[in-house]
Amino acid sequence: MSSGPMELLRRFGSLFRGRKLDRDLDSELANHIDLAAADYRKQGMTGEEARRMALLKLGGIEQSKEIQRDARGLPAFEAVLQDARYAIRTLRRDAGFALFVTLIIGLGIGACATVFSVVNSLLVRPLPFRDPSRLVWIANGTDATADMSARTFQVIPMLALRDRNSSFTDIAGYFAFYGIGDVAFADMNKPERLTGVGVSEKFFSVLGVSPHTGRLFTAEECQRYGSVVLLADAFWERRFARDPHIVGSTMRLGGKPITVVGVLPASFDFGSVFAPGTRVDLFFPFPLTQDTDRWGNTLAVVGRLKPGAQLTTAQAEADILGKQITAENPRRNSIQPSLSYLSEHVSGQIRPALLILAGAVLVVMLIVCANVSNLMLARTAARQKEMAIRAALGAGRGRLARQLFTESLLLTGCGALFGVALAYGATFGIAHLTAFDLPLLNEVRMDGRALGFVALIAVITGILLSLAPALHISLPHLSTSLGRSGAGGSREHAWLRGGLVMAEIAFACVLLVGAGLLVRSFVNVLDTRLGFRPQNAATIRIDPNSSYETEARKIAYLNDALNRARSIAGVRGAGVTDALPLGRNRNWGAAAKGVDYQPNNYPSAFVRIVSDGYFGAMGIPITRGRDFDERDDAQSRQVIVINESMAHAFWPGENPLGKIILGDCAKEREVVGIVADVRHLALEKDAGNEMYVPMRQCTDRPSWDLVVRADLPLPTLASAVDYALRPIAPDLPKGGMRPLTQLVDRAVSPRRFIVSLLSGFAAFALILASLGIYGLISYSVNSSASEIGVRMALGASAFEVQRRIVARTLTLAAAGMLAGVVISWIAGRSVGSLLYGVAAADPATFVAAALVLLGVSALASYLPARRASRIDPMICLRAE
């Protein structure tokens, strides 16, 4: 029969007139019975018989009402409303249960949504540029672990590549060796050190970034240095409160007046994409000229593919061009372009870590499901009777299952709301983390996609959770349970619940092993021989301001600053360097005198330009020879200090002191000292060749960092240094002093991020698993109280009872652990890239995880076991 819109409307309307319609029907049915009974009496039945017959013919009052209700309204919709109302009522009666489940699900969903948002912004969401899928990162060489000098391009070869290729609409780059805080901003009120990046012409147009206000650099401005600047949005907001009149005005940067030509949009965050954890304030033109070509490899390069161009063909073309260009420029550095999509370059390093996190959070969610399923099962067992009554009153099996589904959906819904609130908080927190060097982290936020994901998870969880209890309603079952009095649980419950707890233990085991491996790696990383002692030392930028023009004046300033710092009471050493460890990344060519190297095999070393006292201040041990001193100046013999690795690489088995090294800044330098290796790139990376050049013998110093070692608390030291240096360095930034340990902290921050999240998940999993065990054992103790009572009456001691229960739990736990160990063993390989100094199948970690799980299981089962052993056999038996 067709149902027109009018009828639907009426049916819908009857949803709201339910009560009146019910009352009408009640009186109609009562009258019906009366009339029918009267008829039957006329046929000679007694009053009682007639009534019974009338009811029989009607088919039952309640049933008739139910049929009529179905016919008049929208039964499906009504049932849902009714189920929801009923669910709310039952859950309110069981508020503790509801709250607990909501909490657990909320935490699980919150964790899922947070990790999803992180993965979404870091891996899935397109980069914040125009048409980002065509942007390509062009690196030099294929060795991803090589230092930056080996991966960047020299200007002229890069220009050749740009002009000759046919795959890219354009290629641009930025100067990769900018230093953090290299630009002194001489502001009257608040002198500050800013970070500025030199970008080639068209850099912004290749990325598809247009200025928020003002304009980009003109071609002419890109031909020379330092007359114009573009501001980053964050800097514009921080220092100029988004004042649009800043465009066209001048700023004193590095002692020169420089014109602001525009402000970049907020969506463009250079640091988050190209230099995670770095705040870039300014952009200058970087001229691509013969002059900058002489600086060697300097350019990090991006290109935009032509529409329709393939990365593979572009790579093939670049291979050919690379060989040609290298051959044409024998006196320049070789180029071997290696292309990858920019998005992959940005997220590539963190991808495995994020995938592991995603896997971990999925496992957490599974544990949550297992745990809540278990609780639901226990509850279903207790509700068998209620279900039986409802079935007797005409509820079909489907209807009961729907009721259970509504209930679990309501629970997951509440949990999801809580989880979304958590995730909003967590993503906000993550986006505002500044101590973590992770790309795009500040882009992390909950978006529509994340909300959709939460809804999906909530529904899936709701289905999963109602699955076990719903499978359990079998109607014949119910009629027997009506007859029974207690909250009797059936046997098949027992194995299902046991299985769920086992699964929880297995998953918890996987997480524990994973977290354990990463924590051990983390500890190993922190334990690496850094080569310097970060404790009790602090550092501050003290670049001389523009009033110190000549080299002699700069050196005088440096001497003065060092003397002032050293004269502070409590200071044990002070030195200056142009490159703190774990910060800069650059290599200079260096060769042992008298050795003929192949053209492509010319050695290089990480170089630092340092003052005397630097090694002492940093805590870098001098193993042979001497430190620099004030007499190592431009007039004296040129000297150099090298690290042990370099000494060993250049002169294995020989005494390196007195040997000559050919390098930059001077033709020949005599090795006067050997120092310990310092991990300068990353804690996980060996030092390689390192060399130190005395500050007074090399003018090519991009920055001056003062390192002070002192037994003073940081604030005291900071104010003492400020007081001592302010007279000679009036534009010293306030609050610029930071502890050396911060360098290490930053370097390990991505690892710390992953480790802390994973450890949190593991702890959560452990708690859930122990709750699961506790719940299961409590339940089984309660339901077998009489059996325990009999045993005790027959002479079993309290200890024996406890032992039996704990032993049974441990068997369960052992089975779970076995599964968990096998899964961990298999999954361990995927963590491989994140491990450091520990094998994926590290026995110690596996054993430790197993012990923790066993301990927790024993404890979780001991509490109910103790309660069981206190059962009074008499009370228990009488209750039967």
Binding site: L21, E28, G60, S64, R72
Partner: protein, 117 residues
């Protein structure tokens, strides 16, 4: 032994109710149920409770209307009457059932003829 009672085909009850109301004028629920049973010679298995579902269904389609009145036992009762739309629908239904009955009769006669041949 008595023949087992006939199950009602889907949709037939609505037509019976309409027809009853068209023929006999306004009736209450019990009256309709009794009349249908009597007319059928007590041959159909009528769960009287389903009458009320049919009545609300027909009301929602506005084929019948309802009004409170007083029944023969002096109690308040709802009297149902067919509407103009209901009569139109009934005419359509009658034609449909007539055709269906003809077709059924012919199809069933086919078997009987086959046996004779």
């Amino acid at each position: 032994m008595e023949d087992p009672k006939l199950d009602l085909l889907q949709g037939t009850l609505d037509v019976m109710v309409l027809q009853t109301l068209a023929a006999l004028g306004p009736l209450h629920g019990y009256g309709i149920a009794r009349r249908i049973e009597q007319v059928s010679g007590d041959q159909i298995l009528l769960n009287q409770g389903t009458i009320y579902a049919a009545l609300i269904r027909l009301q929602n389609k506005r084929w019948i209307s309802a009004q409170w009145g007083v029944s023969e036992n002096n109690r308040r009762a709802k009297y149902y009457a067919i509407t103009a739309r209901g009569r139109k629908q009934l005419a359509a239904d009658l034609a449909y059932w007539q055709r269906l009955a003809d077709v059924m009769a012919r199809v069933l006669a086919l078997g009987a003829a086959g046996e004779q041949a």
